[in-house]
C-alpha cells in the first residue's frame, strides 16, 4: 500500500499495518518519537493497536533531548 510518510509518498508491504509494525518496517528504531496518523496523535500505548491504511498520512517526529 501507498502512504504519506513525513510528507513523502512511500510504498509499504501489506494492506494494513499497526503503527508498531510500520515503525519496525521503516526502521524507526529511535525510542522517543511522536506519531500522528491523519493528524491525530497516536499514544505510545496504542502503537500495537492503531492501524495504518492505504492513503493515510503518517508523521513520525523524533524528540531530541535538550531544553
Amino acid at each position: 500500500m501507498k502512504i504519506q510518510l513525513n510528507r513523502r509518498s512511500v510504498e509499504v508491504e501489506g494492506d494494513v499495518l499497526t503503527v508498531r509494525l510500520l515503525l519496525d518496517r521503516m526502521n524507526f528504531s529511535f525510542p522517543l518519537i511522536i506519531v500522528k496518523v491523519n493528524g491525530l496523535l497516536v499514544p505510545r500505548d496504542d502503537y500495537g493497536k492503531a492501524s495504518v491504511h492505504e492513503g493515510d498520512r503518517v508523521e513520525v517526529i523524533h524528540l531530541m533531548s535538550g531544553g
Binding site: L32, I33, I34, K36, G39, L41, P43, R44, E59, I61, H62, L63, M64, S65, G66, G67
Partner: protein, 201 residues
C-alpha cells in the same frame, strides 16, 4: 497589527510553560515582553552555575528555585504580568490541574521522555489547544536548519535532529533561538495570523 492592539489581545491570554531551563526561561521572558497577561510556569530545578551560559538567570540567583528566580526576573521586565510559579516535577495529573485554563502550552522540558509525556498528556486532555514544543537545539551554528513544523495543533521548533550530549552541549545562542521560535509561534497562534512568515503586499 499595531502594537497596542497586540498587547491588548495578548494581555487577555494565559500561556503554560512546562520547564524553566534554557527554553522555558528565555521563552517566558519574551512572552512577558510581548505582553502576555498570565504565565503559568512549572519546573523542579534550582539555578546552577552551568545554567548561566544559556538560561535567563543571573549569578546571584545560583541556588534559587528556577521558578522563583524566573518570576523575579519577569517582574523586573514587567510587574504587571501575572506569574504562577510552581516548583514541581510535572506528571499527567499535575499537567491537568496546573495548565487547565491556559490558552497555549509551551513544551520547554529537557528530557525527550518528558517531552513525549507532556505532548501525549496535553493532546489527550485538550484536543484542539495549541501546543508548541521543541526538539533539536544542541551545539552551535546551523541557523538555517532551525525550523518550525506545524502539524495541526502541535508545533515543533528546532532542527529535529541534534541531541544534547557532551560533544554537542546546549549553548546560549541556539537554545535562545529555539525559545524565540517558540515564543513567536505562540504569538502567531494567539493572534490568529494565518501562516509563518507570509507577507501581504
Amino acid at each position: 497589527m499595531e502594537e497596542r492592539i497586540v498587547r491588548r489581545l495578548l494581555g487577555e491570554k494565559s500561556v503554560a510553560i512546562a520547564g524553566a531551563g534554557g527554553l522555558g526561561s528565555n521563552c517566558a521572558a519574551l512572552l512577558a515582553r510581548a505582553g502576555i497577561g498570565r504565565l503559568v510556569i512549572a519546573d523542579f530545578d534550582v539555578v546552577s552555575l552551568s545554567n548561566l551560559n544559556r538560561q535567563f538567570f543571573f549569578r546571584d540567583q545560583v541556588g534559587m528555585k528556577k521558578v522563583e528566580a524566573l518570576k523575579t526576573n519577569i517582574f523586573r521586565i514587567d510587574p504587571g504580568v501575572v506569574v504562577e510559579a510552581w516548583e514541581t516535577k510535572l506528571d499527567p495529573e499535575k499537567i491537568a490541574s496546573l495548565f487547565q485554563d491556559c490558552d497555549v502550552v509551551v513544551e520547554a522540558l529537557d528530557r525527550a521522555d518528558m517531552k513525549a509525556m507532556l505532548i501525549e498528556t496535553a493532546v489527550k486532555l485538550w484536543p484542539g489547544r495549541p501546543l508548541v514544543a521543541a526538539s533539536g537545539l544542541a551545539g552551535f551554528g546551523g541557523n538555517n536548519r532551525l525550523r518550525t513544523r506545524i502539524l495541526g495543533d502541535l508545533t515543533l521548533c528546532g532542527d529535529g535532529e541534534s541531541e544534547v550530549s557532551l560533544e554537542d552541549p546546549p549553548l546560549g545562542p541556539r537554545v535562545a533561538a529555539v525559545a524565540a521560535l517558540q515564543a513567536n509561534r505562540v504569538l502567531e497562534v494567539l493572534l490568529k495570523v494565518p501562516a509563518t512568515g507570509r507577507r501581504r503586499r
